[in-house]
Amino acid sequence: MVWLKRILLHVIGVLLASCSVTNDDYIIKGLDASPTLAIPLAYGDLSIADLISKKDSANIKVQGDSVVYLSYDQFLISQDIRNLITIPDVGTTTTPMAVPPGTYPPAPNDLTVATVNHLVDLNLSHEKLTEIDFKSGALSYAIGLSQPNANLKYAILISIPEFISKVDGSIFSQQVSGTGTIQLSNYVFKSNVANKFNLNLSVIIKKSSSSVTIAPGTTVNSQISFAGIDFTYIKGFFGDQTVTTKPQTLDIHAFGSSLLNGHNISFAQPALSLTVVNDYGVPLEVNFIKLEARKQGNALPMQTNPVSPILVNQPLTMGASANTVVNVTNVGALINFVPTQFYYQATARINKGQVSGVNFMADTSKMRVHMQVNVPLYGKASDIIMADTVDAGFGNLEGSKIATASLKTNVTNELPLDVSLQFYFVDQNYKVLDSLLDSSQSNIVKGSLVTAAGELQTASVNDKLIPLDGSKISKVFGAKKIIIKALMNTSKDATGSQVDVKFKSTYKIKIKIGLEAKLKIVSNF
């Protein structure tokens, strides 16, 4: 057992001696790892309605056969013709009326002592109005004596036979004294002599229980004026007048402002109708100075039948409207032009060449151009380019931390639309640093296979892992913005020819995009 004792003593000795450590192993200077992340980037279950600008969401409709169509229905309203006619104020009519002098005994009744009649002209330059329904307007008066006489009680009776009460059909007749105004909104002007009415004034000495003495040379002075006259409707002859309407627009957002030039689009069954709706009971000729489809500084004139100027129909009775259909003969060209706006400006001429006539209009009368655009998404297109710019926003990430990366795309597409995507990385001056994909990689979305009638035959399925070039990845992180550019073409048939294809509401594109990236994490503490 001596050997065992020796071993034991040795072990105890070493055990006591081995009590130190070096810190090197326990001072952590950093962390190394190279994980490969597989993360989702985006997904969506989108229909064609989702891809159309949301500004036009109210204009997206579905036909009975499920084909999606864009429908724009707008009245471009003008009241410029109504505004042609304004009724000027009628200046003050001053009338001194002599009161016979003498002593008047007490009298149980009023006594008319003087009468004066004026024919007042409304002073309209073009119009010859025989009927005016006053919407507003006031008769103002100021009555006074030439010599003060406290005992004399008097008044002026104002009578206008052409002003008929709307309430009881009586003529305008009111006794007034002192100063004041009388509202005319309860009266209608009706006159056999256009623009003119009679203003009859009578001096009345009021009944009295005592006698009154009037000195010689005593007169009652009246001042009458009319102001603020507007109409609910007017009748008569409005004259030969022309007005230029304000420009009107119909905005079309569906095709998007990002739709660049170079596309080739053909819609199979577009429709555009133009109807002029006229409330004015007056011969009206509309001359379209501008009537065109517009986009990004380009314009395409709208061709009509009948050609402009167009004599539009007029209603036979007040409150009715008359429609005049204007056929557009170049609808296909206009819609295939993929406009962002329809624009028109017109002049309207009433009573062209006429010197008399019976016209009418209400203050609510309008001339409306009803424009209706229906564009079924049925057709073919190629080289449609859409682009959008987003901030890169990679923050403090460094490109060197990504060793390799691949884009995972899983797309099931029922839409008859091929989409090639490219991501351009640009600096703050929009100088392109690089693009993410090469030409063989960019065709990410394959269009569905369609029948000869352009309907869905087979959805395309595209499940790809697209390796990304390492040198390109490093440039991604120097980018300030990313321009996403999509080049789209409608599907071709089995022979490779483009056919008219239908975009139905039931067709979906299911997109799933992920990223696989091997990181190099070298972190030093």
């Binding site: 090197d24 192993d25 952590i28 490969t36 969506g44 997109i511």
Partner: protein, 465 residues
């Protein structure tokens, strides 16, 4: 004979999953009164043995998954965390177990040659943290390896702190058979118990959509108080004594000439937790799939939806704290099977198979060793503990008997320290299993008549120095 005994034990051990939280070497230290912790039928050769407060303690550490050297790499004379290396070293479930026991008071008296009584009070803490390999794998290798699969990343944590008051004894029925038992009254102080924890991450092969599915229920006792303002432990101390429990140790030894066989069940018991009990749970439907940016929402101009989505996730995966009634947990139970053979006078060789069971996890191990008594003053043991994850556990035990005082140190993986060379780094860096019991006993009346064999005596025949 030896082959027939050791082979089945070795085979059983090789199939084991993890280290046990037990002390193999202690069974060889028959000179220590603490040997009865492994088997209450074991009796140390003293008439009286006393451990004063905090004069004897033991620490445990085991890690079935990795050692520190698996976590780091030396790069250009610098130490760096190497996640790839770390991940490759891990097992599917990695358990890190730590325990600490402190003998607050221990008293052992031999009433007569057949009967020995022991009284003790011990403070014990035990914690077990489990994390799955996938939890590190997600960071080390990313989500790519999990495409089309599900990563299980939910950790699990259990911890218990309690005071054990025990009374027991051993009784020698005849020359060959000795039985022992110890009855324990437990006072739980604090507990964290993970009933269930699920956190799964699935990666969709179509676009790598990430689906997180979570479910968890964690019970605690005596923990929530500490997060409350105004809580004063000294004023609430009494409520921490409401958690009662019971446990029992049972054991027996049987002598066959020079061979002593032993078997025991230790810490078979439970604690009822009643004080400050709270449940922390997740909504069982806490599921969320992130598929990337929703193109539909972005196209429709709803670019703020990600923020509201974030709020929704936060609410969905928020732990809900709920007061709850009492609950019961078991304490880690252990089993020891031992065989000691007296090769020559005062020199014994043997083997100990031990296994610990905590909840559904069984952690077995085996220790082979020899013991040599150098007279009455010094006893030494050398052991080798084997597991399927490590084969470098050389243990040792030493006790030095001075008049009335016994100083000791025992551990299953101590010999690696002197073998590691000038510095302990190599030893520490490869450490996956460690326990150390050390302390001081007051011992009186050592047996002088070796013929009066006690339960632990067979391999021990103390001789005069």
């Amino acid at each position: 004979m030896e082959k027939r005994v050791f082979l089945p034990i070795a085979l059983l051990f090789v199939t084991a999953l993890a280290y046990a939280q037990s002390e193999g070497t202690l069974s060889f230290m028959n000179s220590l009164p603490q040997v009865s912790y492994n088997n209450p039928a074991f009796v140390a050769p003293y008439k009286v043995a006393v451990s004063l407060p905090s004069s004897s303690m033991v620490v445990f550490y085991s890690n079935n998954g990795f050692s520190y050297s698996d976590l780091i790499s030396r790069v250009n004379d610098s130490t760096k965390v190497d996640l790839t290396k770390f991940n490759s070293a891990l097992k599917s479930k990695n358990y890190i177990t730590q325990a600490l026991q402190d003998d607050m008071l221990r008293f052992c008296i031999k009433i007569n040659p057949k009967l020995v009584l022991t009284f003790s009070s011990t403070a014990k803490t035990y914690s077990q943290f489990m994390f799955p390999k996938d939890m590190i794998g997600i960071f080390a290798n990313g989500t790519q390896p999990y495409i089309g699969k599900t990563a299980t990343v939910s950790p699990q944590f259990d911890a218990t702190m309690f005071i054990e008051s025990a009374m027991g004894g051993s009784y020698r029925i005849n020359e060959n058979l000795t039985i022992g038992a110890r009855f324990k009254w437990l006072k739980g102080l604090a507990n964290v118990n993970t009933q269930n924890a699920t956190l799964n991450l699935a990666v969709d092969p179509a676009n790598y959509a990430l689906t997180v599915n979570a479910d968890a229920s964690i019970r605690t006792s005596g923990i929530q108080n500490f997060g409350q303002s105004g809580f004063n432990l000294s004023k609430s101390y009494s409520s921490y004594l409401q958690n009662n429990g019971l446990a029992v140790d049972l054991g027996a030894t049987y002598r066959l000439n020079k061979l002593m066989l032993g078997a025991s069940l230790i810490d078979i018991g439970y604690i009822n937790w009643r004080n400050n009990t709270y449940q922390y749970s997740l909504n069982s439907t806490a599921t969320y799939t992130f598929q990337g940016i929703d193109l539909g929402k972005v196209i429709s101009g709803n670019s703020d939806y990600l923020k509201s989505e974030g709020d929704s996730i936060q609410n969905k995966f928020k732990f809900k704290e709920t007061p709850m009634g009492s609950y019961r947990t078991s304490i880690p139970g252990k089993m020891y099977l031992s065989a000691m053979y007296e090769l020559m006078k005062n020199f014994t060789a043997g083997a100990v198979f031990f296994s610990e069971k905590y909840r559904d996890r069984i952690s077995p191990g085996v220790t082979l060793g020899v013991t040599k008594n150098f007279g009455r003053w010094f006893t030494a043991a050398g052991t080798y503990t084997l597991s399927n994850t490590s084969a470098n556990n050389l243990g040792m035990g030493m006790s030095l008997n001075l008049p009335g005082v016994q100083i000791f140190a025992v551990g299953d993986n101590l010999l690696g320290i002197p073998l590691s060379g000038q510095y302990l780094n190599k030893y520490i860096n490869s450490l996956q299993y460690f326990n150390l019991r050390l302390g001081l006993n007051l011992v009186f009346g050592r047996d002088k008549n070796p013929s009066k064999k006690q339960a632990t005596d067979p391999p021990v025949k103390p001789q005069e120095p």
